[in-house]
Amino acid sequence: MKKIVILSLVFGLAMVGAFAADSQIWGEMRIPNILSYGQEQSLKLGALFTMLQNHYFGKIFLAILVLVPLVFFVHYKVIGPKVFSHEGKKVYAFDMFNRVVHQIAAISFIVIVPTGFVIVFGDFFGGGTFVRLCKNLHGIFTIPFAIVVIPMFVMWVKDMFLHWDDIKWLMIVGGYLSKVKNPVPAGKFNAGQKTWYWLATLGGVLMIVTGAMMYFLDFKIEMLNNITGLSQIDLLRVSAILHNVVGFAVVALFFVHIYMSIFAIKGAIHSILTGYKEEEEVKILHSSWYRKLKEQGKV
Amino acid sequence: MTNHLGDIQNSKCIFIIGANPAVAHPVGMVHILRAKELGAKIIVVDPYFSRTASKADMFARIRPGTDIAFMYGMIRHIIKNDLYDKEYVKNRVYGFEETAKEAEQYTPEVVENITGVPANQLIEITNMMARAKPATLIYNQGLTQHSVGTGNTRQTVILQLLLGNIGKPGGGCNILRGHDNVQGASDMSNLAHSLPGYYGLAEGAWKYFCSNWKVDYAWMQSRFKSPDLLHKNGFSVATWRFGVLEEQNAKNNAGTMIRGMMNIGSGLSSISLTDTTKKAMEKLELCVIVDPYFNDMGAIADMKNNLFMLPAASQIETSGTVTATNRGTQWRNKVVEPMYECKTDHEILFQLAKKLGYYDELVRAMGDGKGGFTWPEDATREYTQAIRSIGLQGITPERLKAQSENWHMFDPKTLKGSGPFKNEFYSLPWPCWSEKHPGTPVMYDDSIPVSQGGMGFRVRWTPKTPDGTSLLSEVELKGTKSGAKGHDHITAANVEEITGIKLSDEEKEKVKGKSWSTDTSNILVEKAMQAGLCPYGNGKARTVVWEWVDKVPKHREPLHSPRPDLIAQYPTYKDKDNHYRANIKYESRQNEKVWAKEYPMQLLTGRYVEHLGTGTESRSSIYLAELAPEPLLDIHPDKGHDLGLRDGDMVWIYGTTGLRIKVKCKFSTRVAYDTASMPYTYSGIYQGESILGRYPKGLAPYAVGEGSNTIISYGFDIVTTTPETKCTLCRIEKA
C-alpha cells in the first residue's frame, strides 16, 4: 500500500513536471479555437458550456442539495428507518482491506463533495481565500481517492455484475417504500449499491480525469487531442461539462449512500467500520446472499 | 531613400523587391498600408512569401540573385510597349540606348528561365508598375547582399528613371535601411573608402578635413605609415578577416597583417563566414569590443587572452543626432545617466586618444580648441559644418532640439511643419543647404525651387562623358533666374558665370579655390540658391558607368548557383585582387566545382521582427526572447517529407563553407520546394554545440540558437565587398 502511495505521488509530481512544458491553449491551438467561433462546423462547446454553467449547473446542484435530503426527510418521517437487531449474530462481510480502502475513499468524498459545493456556490461564500482553499482541498483530496479507486474496483467487481435479483429489487425499490420487513431479493450488494459502486468507480475515474485536466489546464498531451479530435480548449470544455453532469449523479448517490448507511438502516454504518453485518439485516435486505451463505453453512 | 516614409502614401503602385518592411520596418509599413487603402497596388517580388507579401496584390516568387534579369525583363517590356517616360528620359537620363540594348536579350521567356517567374506574371507586374503614376520602388538587403549587389541597386534606379518616377512625390527609389543610425554612420563615412560625407580619400578631401579638424595635412600624413596610404581603401568590415588570416594580403596592407581590432558596437556575426571571423579573432594580439551588451563574437571566438569587453552606454544614456532611413536627422535626448560603470562611446575614444597621445588633435575642432567643449552640441556643429557634400550645413543642434520639442507641429504625411516651423520639414532631410533651408524630403524634384527642397541630379563625375556627350540636364530647375538649364556644380571659378551674380571682393577672397562642397563660408551655396540653382549642379542621371566592369548592370549567376547550366552564359566576375586590401575570389570560386550537385537547396536568410542584427540586444530582452526563443528553419512540407522529416525535427544544414549548423525545422509554404529559410540573428550555439559557457556569468542572452552565417556561402560584392548572403547553397539532413 505504501508503495502505491509513494508511486502515485511520484507519478503525480512527474505529471506536473510534464505539464510545465509549453502551453498550447494560448498558442497555436487558439487558432482552431477562434476559427470555430461562430462557424457552422464548430462544436460550439464554449457557448454550450457558458449556457449550461450560467443557467443550469448551479440550479441543478442546488436542487440536488435541497431536494434529495428533502425526499429522505419525508421518507424518514413517513416510512421511517429500518431497524434491525444489533444483539443477534453477525455476518462477516468486509475484511480489513475492504474497510481500509472504503475508508480512504469515504474520507476523500467527505472532503471532495462539500468543497465541490463550496466551489459551485462560490459567490455565496464570497470567493477569495476560503473558496480558493476549498478548490485546492478539492484537488488534493482527489489523490487518496485516485489511489484507492482501482483496488476498490477490483475487490468488489465480482459481486457487482447485474443479476436477475436486481431487476426485482428495482421493481420494489428495495422495499424501502414499505414498513414491512419482507426479504428483499439481493446478493451481497443490492441493485442500489451496485449502481453506486459503478458510478463511484467508473464515474469516479471520469471525475478524476476531467478534474485533473481542469486543474492542470495547460497540460500537453497531444495524444488526447489526436484521439478525441478536439482542440485542447474544447477538451477542457468537455471536461468541465462532464465533471458537472457526472457530478450531479455522484453527489446525489453519495447522499443516498449516506442516508442509507446512517439513517435509513439504523446502524448499518457499523458494518463498514467493524466488518460485521447484522444477520437479520442480511436476511431481509440481502436475502439471496443469505441463502447462499446458509447453503455454505457460513451462518 | 530618395523620398520618405510618409510620401509612400502618394504612390499609386509600390514595387517591393528584396525587402520585407512588415518585419524589418513595421512602423514604415503603415504608410504602405495607408497607400493601399488609397488604392495603390502592392507588388512583392521575393523568394520568400513574407509578411509583407501577405499584404500584396501581387506576389512573384523569384530565384535569389536574379533581380537584374527580372528588372531587365520589365525594362524590355516597358521599352517595347512605349511605357517609358520619353520626355523625362530625354531631359534627365544619360545612357538610355545602352540600357535598351542590354535589355533586348531579356525576353519574358528568357527571364522566366533565369528567374523562375512566369512570363505572363512578369508582364502583368510590369504593366501594373508602368501604368501607375507615380510608382515607388522599395528595396533592402535582399538586393544589396549579392556579388552583383551594386548592379541590383543601379538597376532599380534605371527602372525608375525610365518610368520617370524619380524626383516625384510618391515615386523614388527607396532603400529601407537597417539600424537606427546606419544612414548616419554612412554619412559620417565609417567606411574604408571615404572620409566623412563621401568626400573620398583623395588629397583634396584629406586637406579639407584636416582644415576642419584644425590639424596640419603634413601631421596627418605623418600619422600614416607612408603618405600614399592616405589615399588607399582600407580593409572593409567583410575583408579585414582575410587581412588577419591570409599572408598574401599583407602586401596590400602596408606590409603588415592585421593584429589588433577595435570593435565599437558592430554585430560581426551578422556578416557571412562567421567561422572566418572566429579564426581571425582568435589570431589577434588585441581585440577590444565596446558594446552595451556582451557582443556575441566575444563568445563565438574562443579567445583565451587579449580580449577586452568595455561596457558602453546605450544611446538612451547619451544625447546626439540620429539619421533615419529618410536622411532625416532627429535629436535623441539622454533619458538616464549611463547605467552601472558604462561609459559613452566618445568618452572611451577620448580616454584612448589620451593614452595614444593625440587627444588634443582629436578634440581641437570643438569649442575653444583647447579641450573646452560641450558634448554633443559642439560635435554636431563640427560635423554638420564640415559635411557639405550632402548638405548638412543647415542642420544645427538648436534646430533639431526645437523640432524635437515641437514634433506635434509636423504633418505625418508630408513632414511639413506648421506655425513657427512652417518653413521646415521634420528632421531636416538632407540636403539642407543653409539654416534657412527647409530640408529635402523628396530628392531630385526639379519642379520646386531649390530653396524649398528642389534639386536636379548631381553633376558628380563630370559635365561631359568621355565621348563628349553633355551630362547636363535639358530642363531648368523651377525658379531659376539665370536661365541656366543644366549646369555644372558651383565653384569659385564658375559661380559668377553660372549664377549671373557678381561676387564682392571680400566674398571672392573667402571662396577662393573652393567649391560648393568645401566652401565653409557657404557663399557659393547661397549664391546658387539665390539664382534658383542647385549647388551641386543640375545634371543627368547616368545609367552607364564607364569606369566600372559592368558599364550597365549585367545578370551574373551567383558564385554558388543552383543553375550550373546558366553559368557559362552568365558567368561571374574575374577574381579581384586588392579588393579592399584582400584578394577576393569570384570566377575561381564559381568554377571550383558544381556546387549545386553537392548542395541542392537554396538557403534564404532573414530575420524575425523580434530580433535585429545579431540579436545581441533583443535576445537579451526577456519579452522579445519569449516571443522568438529560437531560430526555425522554414522548409516546404513536401521537401520535408522527402527528406524524412517531421515538423519540429532538428536538422543539420551543411553549407558550402564545409561547416554545418543544427536548427529546428518548421514546415511552411512560405518557401518554395527547393528553398529553405532561417533567421541569422541568433547565436549561443555553434555548429551544434552550446558556447554559453564562454559568456561571463549571467550575461548569456535569453534566446539562443544557431545563426545562419556560419554556413552562408563565400562571395562579396564587386564594388563594395558586401557579402553575398542572399545566394547560399546548402544540404539539409535529419539530425
Binding site: G12, V16, F19, A20, S23, I25, W26, R30, I31, N33, L35, Y37, G46, A47, F49, T50, M51, Q53, N54, G58, I119, G122, D123, G126, G127, G128, V131, R132, K135, G139, M214, Y215, D218, I233, L236, A240 | A22, V23, P26, V27, M29, V30, L33, E37, F49, R51, T52, A53, S54, K55, F59, V609, I622, Y623, L624, E626, L627, S668, T669, R670
Partner: protein, 200 residues
C-alpha cells in the same frame, strides 16, 4: 445608455502585420511575468498566398461577457463603460472563464508546487482593478491604470500600423468605416465585427 458607448478593441486584419508591438507594449506596461500573455497576435492561414492574415487578440470586453456569466465566485464586474474587469482577491483560479471565453483571453500563472493555478490574469483595458487607483497593490495585481489617467490602452497606442484600435464603439467603427470606404471594398464594421457579443 446606448450600447455603443462601451469601450471596444478592434483589430483591422488588413492593417495588422504580426509585429507583436501590442504584446510587448502590454507586457512592459504592466510588467507581466513570462508566460502570461494578456494579448497575443495570431497568424491565420500561415504561408497560404493570398490568404494569410494576422489578428491581435486579447480580452474583447464583450457586452455579454461569458466569463462573467460562468464565474462561480462572481469575481467579474463590468464597468459602466463596458470594460470587463475582475477581482483577483476573489478569483479562485478555477479556469471556467477560460472555457467560456471564445478568445482564450484569461491567463493562469502557475503557482503552487502541485501546478495549481493562481488568480486569473487578463487584459484590463489598462483600467487597473478594484484597488485604489494608482496604488501599489493595483499596480502589482493588475498593472497600470491608464484609463484613470485619460490615456489609451498601451497596446493600441503603440500599434505600429494602427491596426489595433481602442475606444468607444462609435468612434472605433467610424474609423473602420472610413478605412473601408477608402478601400472601396472589404468587410464593413458591423457590430459583430466589433466583437460586441461573444456568443450570438
Amino acid at each position: 445608455m446606448t450600447p455603443n458607448t462601451s469601450m471596444r478593441f478592434y483589430c483591422d486584419e488588413s492593417r495588422c502585420i504580426d509585429c507583436h508591438g501590442c504584446e510587448v507594449a502590454c507586457k512592459e506596461a504592466h510588467h507581466l511575468p513570462v508566460g502570461v500573455n494578456r494579448r497575443r497576435v495570431i497568424t491565420l492561414n500561415e504561408g497560404v498566398i493570398g490568404q494569410e492574415s494576422y489578428l491581435s487578440i486579447a480580452c474583447q470586453h464583450c457586452s455579454d461577457a461569458p466569463c462573467e456569466q460562468v464565474c462561480p465566485v462572481d469575481c467579474f464586474y463590468i464597468r459602466a463603460d463596458g470594460i470587463v474587469l475582475h477581482d483577483k482577491d476573489k478569483c479562485i483560479g478555477c479556469g471556467y472563464c477560460l472555457y467560456a471565453c471564445p478568445f482564450g483571453a484569461p491567463q493562469f500563472p502557475r503557482q503552487g508546487v502541485f501546478g495549481s493555478k493562481g488568480a486569473m490574469d487578463k487584459c484590463t483595458y489598462c483600467a487597473g482593478g478594484p484597488e485604489d487607483t494608482h496604488s501599489e497593490k493595483e499596480y502589482q495585481l493588475y498593472g497600470q491604470n491608464r484609463i484613470a489617467e485619460g490615456k489609451v490602452p498601451a497596446c493600441a497606442a503603440m500599434c505600429s500600423t494602427k491596426a489595433l484600435l481602442a475606444g468607444d464603439a462609435t468612434s472605433v467603427s467610424k474609423i473602420i468605416t472610413e478605412r473601408v470606404l477608402r478601400r472601396g471594398s472589404g468587410r464593413g464594421a458591423s457590430e459583430s465585427a466589433m466583437w460586441n457579443a461573444a456568443y450570438k
